[in-house]
Subunit: 149 residues, 2 copies
DNA sequence: TTATTAATTGCAAAACGCTTGCAATAAGTG
DNA sequence: CACTTATTGCAAGCGTTTTGCAATTAATAA
């Protein structure tokens, strides 16, 4: 997991990212790499504010607007995915990861990752009955987890 | 549908509401009744701002913060339900109504009501596989509608 | 009916998450 | 190295929601 391209400490491998960005005329900046690294390192959903704060510990110069602008960019390119977990702020994770769906416990706040194929029956039904093409990358289901019954 | 308890014009029946509120020491105010009436009359999801504006046409004295505070209260009591439709503002509807689920088209913004039983297979699966008790009152599925393919 | 009292309101200001205009900076290129 | 233009930080702004507080008012008792 720990990368060898040490532009800043603990940086993940950036080959793909560099390719993605520079092929489209975007520039590789330390801010972008750190932001992407923060998302990859989070192993799960992370908010813009959390990304900002985790980076600021090592690099206080970062601005929150840069985080938002970078997230916008990474979404466009398809490197990160956005999920609305219903708590008033949007969360992000690396698009490479599986488990795009989440069960959010409204009692304890626990988040359970959900296998993708768990939702395919639903997707199929929606397509058949309503002609609706569901985009279930952005999916959070609320309820109570096993422990909170 | 039109009520007989005409405290303000077009007021819905308030027996239940009065019971719910006063049993818990809450007071019945014209503002609360109008807000609840606006939600019931909306036949569907409605935002705080929309509630506020619809009432202000007849009663300009109303304050938006009262709307928010009342919605908070009605949620607690269980008279209204909140849904995050992903457009940066939360929407509400009467907890009594059917069609709790929505298909939201991210291209044209259209909202399609979804039959409740369309999600029961999913609910069952989540319970069986994860022990997760999904609360699908608060459900919006994003994607592209028939027309926006 | 009036007096009492605590819940509720309106107001103004602030909090919150996010966006934007702009001048300064810096990445990529020759 | 010089040049060009994407990118950044800053500060200000946006829309939605929340909050502190004094004034008002619903519910209750007298």
């Amino acid at each position: 997991m720990a990368g060898s391209d040490k532009i800043v400490p603990n940086m993940v491998q950036n080959k793909d990212i560099v390719a993605h960005l520079s092929q489209r005329g975007y520039r590789i900046t330390p801010q972008r790499l750190m932001i992407l690294n923060a998302i990859n390192g989070a192993r799960g959903h992370i908010s813009a504010e959390e990304i900002y704060e985790s980076i600021c510990q090592n690099y206080p110069g970062l601005n929150i607007s840069t985080v938002y602008r970078t997230l916008e960019l990474l979404k466009e390119i398809g490197l990160v995915t956005e999920t609305d977990m219903g708590d008033g702020r949007v969360r992000f994770h690396s698009a490479g990861h599986e488990h795009h769906h989440h069960l959010v416990c409204s009692v304890c706040g626990r988040v359970i990752d959900l296998d993708e194929e768990m939702l395919t029956p639903l997707t199929t039904t929606l397509k058949e009955k309503y002609g609706f093409c569901a985009d279930l990358q952005h999916m959070a289901i609320f309820g109570r987890c096993k422990s909170c019954g």
